[in-house]
Every structure is written in structure tokens, then in C-alpha cells.
Amino acid sequence: MLVSENRKILIIEDSPTYQRALADELVSRSYDIICANSGEEGLELIKENPPDLIVLDVMLPQIQGYPVCRLIKSNPHFRHIPVIILTLLEGNRIMPEAIEAGADSFINKQAPMSLIVRRIDALLKMSIAAKLFWQEEVIVEEEEISLAGKKILLMDDDLTYLQILKRELVIDGYQVMDVTTGEQCFEKVKEEMPDLILLSLEMSDLEGTDVCREIHKAKRFYSVPVLMLTPTDSREQIIRSFEAGANDCVAKTDNLKLIKLRIISILKRKYFEEEMRKVRTQLSGAEMKMIIANSEKEIQKQFAQQLEEKNKLLEKEIAERQVAEELSRKLSRAVEQSPVTVVVTDTEGRIEYVNPKFIQLTGYAYEEALGQNPRVFKSGEHSALFYKELWETITAGKEWRGEFHNKKKNGELYWEFASISPVRNLNGEITHYIAVKEDITERKRAEEELKRSKTELETQAWGLQKANDSIKMLYKQLEERNKELQKLDILKSEFVSTVSHELRTPMAIIREGVSQVLEGILGDINVEQKEFLTISLENIDRLGRIINDLLDISKLEAGRVELRREWFDLVSIVNDAIKNYKLMDKASAKGVELRTKFSGERIEVYADRDKLIQIIMNLINNALKFTEEGFIEVAVEDCEDRVECKVSDTGRGISEDDLQHIFVKFRQFDRKDGPGKQGTGLGLTICKALVELHGGTMTVDSKAGVGTTFRFILPEYSMEEILREAISSGMKEAEKLEEAFSAMLMSIDSVETKKHLMDEATYNEHLQQIGKIAYHVLRRSSDKAIGIGGCKLLMTLPVTNGRQALIVQARIEEKINEYLEKEALLEHFKVRFSIASYPSDGSSSEALWNRLFPGGGLAE
């Protein structure tokens, strides 16, 4: 039977961790364990169920370890229970307080578990005898235990130490015997039956351990305690001592006082045991048998119970192991199927395991990888320092994390992110290293790619910025130059118009002079003089035309020509022009027929009347100039959305080369044709510009020797479009200038009953006159009037507010009334006005329009 079998140990310890560790260790050695977390709880447990041994922590909550020990030892019922105090101090320093408190032994808490357990074993062995009687009322009288005179046998071949120790013990009153060899020792034991034997562990002949075993072999001496004197307090020596059956051991290097305290402790124990034995012998044989039987029954019962418990424990353990195995299987699968590589090496870095991912990634077979050092994967890109730091980290027990650029079996490089950490065994020693590595080649590549793209983008952005800056700068320069050019252009135009203007006056004087001489006012002139003066006059006139044309063209080019659009009949304009300028006569004088062709009786256009006359006159004169026979035809055709005007002739035509330059300034052809036929070279240019100003186009068709056709097209607007355009453009201008603007609609109503008194022509004549009167009242060139079907007139008055418009209205009314009164028509015509002003009557052209035309449209 083991010493530990059925022995109950109480651990009084407040640290659950330590409690658990110690309990586990003791349970594994078949001890029964009871635990208490405090002194009070421990004392309670002792009373309920006295243990065979108590392990007591010195530091406890509330009652400390020493008082608890004292309480136990002062109770006669429990004082026989051995107490081991767990101290916190290093080594085997003397703990007088522990001995004083009655502790049987003490041990450093930090000592290995195995050592603590051995000490427990040793102490229990001494109290085996007492165990059988723990239920008995073994009461030892409270008395001073005298240890004086106790026999101590001392064995050591180191004479000096022997003498020092002996002298000390003698002083303490012990009866001391000393021997220097094992042989002598055996004899002395037989002769003297000592109370305690002190054996030196290391001797020149027999080892202390051998002597101890030999002594304890004999039953007689089994109860004689042995205190082993070890050379040092090394664990190995202590273990050897206990293994040999020593009851306690102490290092020679320890203070003598400690040795003495140990001696006291052992002797006290022996004293109690002897007391017990005395009690036992005093009891009768029958009683003794009964007690033994009882306790054996009790023991058997307890044994069965323990067996059952142990069974349960085993079952539980099996279940736990199954769970653990299952978990281990799962973990192993996880590693096997892991998407990251796992490499396990021994402490030297030799590979012991690699997972399938590793094989897949590196191309090394499992067998190839085994036993290799991971340095075979080195790409050579990392420095020696890099690897040194790695090893320093992991051998120090820390985890290392970092990136490797490694090489596959086929030489291909790859990046991996690795975490390498040490694996420790139960004793905390490093046995393996485990590396978990993730292939980050793709990520690295993506990063590199990203970095490259970023740099590329930055460069591109830089380039764009630079180009942009340069262009901006050039643009600025260009703008400056443009401004200069514009300035020059304006200067040029101004120069031309000033010069032209200035030329007119002296020219008029010259013309007047020449014509007076020519007309003979200043005296008779002969034929020769007359001829010369005639040529002079013609050229003066031509100069006049050139000056006028120059003025026109410079105005057109500077955009200073404004159209005074109005609604009029193009047919009558053409007829009037031909009549007024006696063109028919001019043509017939040349033997050329001048004819007209109109698509309707009236062809209404919305244009600048004077400018249109200028265009038509220019074209007819041009045709007359170059046509010697045949005809000249002026045709006006009203097409749906436009009016087309044509001036055709049967003249000599224009060559194809010249046709391209026909509208270019100062281009003249056939200059040699002599006087009278000379133009300014600006006429056609002006015509084209004027047509374009109207929003139209001008083209020419010609065939040399057959004739020429000039054609211009005027876009046609609906009345409403024209009126709306007039109002909205006026308003826009006003908005821009932040000025007022007024539109005034004049309507002439004829009194129906009187209308039949006059014919249609007279009636229209009057309407026209009334319109003209109104138009002439408008004094500013910016004021405009648009006739609407003869009896209505829309006038737009910029920079005119409602009140000022009323003044204008009054003036018009006055003039019209004057006229009507004169013509005695006051009763026949009624003139009404309506005014819409911006911003007082509305801030949108739509609002103004609605005010003037409440119906929304023009319909009467």
C-alpha cells in the first residue's frame, strides 16, 4: 500500500490557481484532497473531517497562515496532524515563525510540485501510526514537551562539520553521538536506539541514502526518523534523500539554526507518535481489534467509495479525452486544408511538418521538405540581419511577424506574410517553431502595380498641368495681342470715317466750283475746257461715291450699322425706285429693256426700307453698267418662309476666276472700259453685308457672254414673331442697361358708318399718313415703329418709363389730331393707344406682350 493511499490532505490556500495545481498533483498521486480558501473555512473543515495532513499558505485573507497553524496545534484533537506551511521566500531561508507556530515543515511555494509532494509523503509516513487512531479521543495533556536528553545520532565523514553541529546540539541539551562511517552508524543505531538520526548524504564510503535504506529495512528502526544532510539544497539531492526514505532533509549550507529547528520539528512529531503508541498499548487487545476492524471497515468503505469516484473520474477523463481528440482531429483538418501554409520546425529550424498548401505553393514534395532548413527558400533579398532578428525574436519566446520574399522549387519568387512563434511543452521549454504563412504575391504585385500606376498618373497629371499652364500663358499673351489688334482696328475704322468725312466738305466745294465753271456762270468756256471739266466733275462724283461707300463699309465692318426695320411692300419700293431714279429712261437710252416681275400685287417684308433700296439700286445700276443689249429683269418672289429677289441681265457676264472674288473689297473688273463705268469696288461688298445684316444671303450666278444673276434672299417673319422679337430685344437691352423700356401700341379704328364715304386707296393713304406722323414724332434713332397691317403700329421706346411714354403718346395724338382736323377726318378715324412698360408693368416680355395684346395673339 502506498503511503498516499486514502490519505486526506487539506489545502488551505486562497489562490485558486495554486490550489488547483497542487490538488491536481496530489490527486494524481492518489491523495484525497479537500480545499479551503481561507483559514476559517480550513478550521471548520478540520473540525468536521480531520485530514491526515494540512498544507497551509502563509498568506491568507483575514486570519494569516501562522495564527491558523497555532490554532490547529493548540487543539489537542488536531495537534497530531502534520502542517506544512507554504512560504513565499526564496530558498530554504529559516522560518522561525513557522516552527514557532508549530508547523511541522515549511516549503517555498515556488519549489517544484514534485518537491512539495515529496515533503508531504515524508511527513505522512511519520504519521502513519497516528492515522489508525484519528477517531479516538487521543488527548495529550497540555504540557511542556521537553526535548532535552533526546538521543541524536550524527553521521558525517567531514569531521569539522560534525564537531560544529555536535557542539551546537549538545548546547541545546541533546544527547549527541557521532560516527564517521556507515558501519559505525548501524552499530550505534542497534546499541542506542536513537530518537533521531542525522545522515550526511555524501560520504566517502557508504552514501547517506544507502545507510538510510539499511536502517529503515529493519522494522525496529522504521519509526526512527532520519534527517538527511545534503551538501547543497539542490533539488536532485533533496529528491534522492526523500527517495531513500529520509523523513526530512536539510542542506549543510543552511544556517545551523534552521537545522536545529528541523530537528525540533521531527522530534516533536516523534514525541506525538510515541504518545499515540502508548495509548494504543494501553488499550485492551479486544478493543484494539475492534478499533482496527472498525477502522478497516471504514477504510474499506472509503476505499470502495474512492474506487467509485475514481471510476467516475476515469470515465470523465475518457469523455474529455474524446472531446480533445475530436478537437485535435478538427484542428489537424484545419491545418491540412488551410489556405495558408503551415510549417513546423524543431528548435534547430529543421522542418518536421508542412501542410498541403505549402507543397502546392512551393512545389517541394512533402518528403523533400522534411528535414530541410527553411533557408533553402531564401531568395537572397533579405539581409543577414533580417534573419538574425527573426531568430532572436523567436528564440526569446516571442512571435515574429514579417514578409518574406522566397523562392519556389522552380526558382520562381513569391511573397509571403509569415507569423512564426515558438511552441512550448508543459515545462515551458521551446520544442518547436510553427510558421503560418500567407501567400501575398498577388497582393504585393497589386501594390506594386498600384504604386506604378500612381506614379504614372502623377506624371501624367504633372504633364497636363504643365501643358495647361503653358497654354494659359500663351493664351494670355494672345489675348493681349488681340486687344492690341482690336484697338488698332478701331483706330483704323475711326481713321477711315474721319478721313472720309473730312474729305466731303472740300470735295463739295471743289464740285460746286467746277460745276459753276462748267455751267458758264463764271463766263463762257470753250468746248475743250468743257470736256475737261466734265471729266473732272464725273471723277469728283465718283470720288464722292467712293467716300460714301468707304463710310458705309467702315461702319458695317465696325458693326455700327443698325437696321431700322419696318413692315413695307417690296413691290412698291422697287417700282418707286425705278420711277424716282429714272432707270427706265437710262435703260432705254442704252437700248436695254428694264422689266419687273412680281409674284403678287403686294409682297410684304420686314426690313430696313432705305437699305433695301440701296441694295436694289446698286444691283440695277451694276447691271446697267455691264449690259449693252437685251434686258435687265428685277424679280421679287414671295416664297413661304422667305422673299427672293433677283436682278438678272444679259450682259457680258463674269469669268469663273473673277466670280470667286466678286464680293471682295476693291475688286473691279474691266477697268479699261472707260469713264462712267468706273465703280468704287465697294458696291457689291456693301450689298452682301447689308443682306447678311438682315439675316439673308446673297449669291451670284454668271456665265461669260450670257449674263449674270444676283440673287438675295430675305427671311420672312410672321408678324407676331417680329413684334415679339422687337419687345423681347428691347427688354433684354433694358435689363442689361438697368433702364426702363416701354412699348406702345397704336390702333387706328375707322368709324364703320363713314368708311364707305371714301374709296379704299384714299382710306389706305390716310392710314399710311397717320402711321408716318406717329413715326416722325419719335425723335430718337433707337425708337422704332413697326406697322401692323396698316391700322396698327407698335413703337418700342428704350430708356422710357411709363410716364415718359404717356408724354410721347400725347405728342403723337396732338400731331395726328392736327392732321385729321386739317383733313376733316376727325370723325372718321379714332386712334387708341396702349402702353406696357418695363419694369413697372412686368419683368418678362411675355407680361408686356399680354398687356398690349390681351387676347394673347394678334388676331383681332
Binding site: 506624371t459 501624367q460 504643365k466 501643358a467 495647361n468 497654354i471 499673351q477
Partner: protein, 123 residues
């Protein structure tokens, strides 16, 4: 501002204007070269602080000159400005990739060049 500037430019008219403009801007040590190869040779002995390179040169192009200098033809490596009469972002990027520190438009008054030189040499 005792910095030495080498200008690689084949147009003699431009050379004259640049010289005048740079001197009036406080740069006095100005060297000229008509060709890329000759310019690099000159730079090897003269060690200018800044090289201004026209993009279009007879023989080796301005970009090639720039690349040669970047690749270490001249030590220590001078600052470089690529100058061009044809503004183009693609050219600017090309200049940057060849190692130019700046890229600037050649204007009639060379104002932007002076600005670029000042920026380049102050850094």
C-alpha cells in the same frame, strides 16, 4: 545668384534673346550649345547647375539629351528644364519621364522660362 546655366538650343536668334533676358534677370554665367552631344560634352567639363534643353535639336532630340543626363552622363547631375515651342501634355509627360525637373513653353519674351529657372534653382 552665381549659378551656371547651360542652354542647349540651335536657334541663334533665340540664344541671343535668352542671353539678354537671363542677364537682365540676374543670371550671368550662361553657356550655349547648338547640339545635344556637344552640350553633354560641355557640361562634363563646365558642370552647370542647370541645363535648359530645347525639345527639337539637330541630331539627338532634347528628350534623349535629358535621358542621357538622367542616366548619369554628367556628374553631379544638374537640374534640367525642357523647353518647347510645341505645347503638348504628351511631351510634358515624356520630359518628366526622361527626368526633367520642369517643362516650359518657349514664348517670345521667355518670361515663363525665367520663372521656371528661378523655381528650379531655388529649390
Amino acid at each position: 545668384m552665381n549659378q551656371k546655366i547651360l542652354i542647349i538650343e540651335d536657334d541663334e536668334q533665340d540664344q541671343k534673346i535668352m542671353k539678354r533676358v537671363l542677364i537682365s534677370s540676374g543670371f550671368h554665367e550662361i553657356l550655349f550649345s547648338n547640339k545635344g552631344e556637344a552640350g553633354i560634352e560641355l557640361a562634363k567639363t563646365e558642370k552647370p547647375d542647370l541645363v535648359i534643353i530645347d525639345t527639337i535639336l539637330p541630331g539627338m532630340s532634347g528628350f534623349d539629351v535629358c535621358q542621357r543626363i538622367t542616366d548619369g552622363a554628367i556628374s553631379p547631375k544638374p537640374k534640367m528644364i525642357v523647353m518647347t515651342g510645341f505645347i503638348d501634355a504628351v511631351d510634358a509627360v515624356r520630359a518628366r519621364k526622361c527626368g526633367a525637373d520642369d517643362y516650359c513653353a518657349k514664348t517670345s519674351d521667355f518670361k515663363s522660362l525665367v520663372e521656371a529657372i528661378k523655381n528650379c534653382l531655388n529649390q
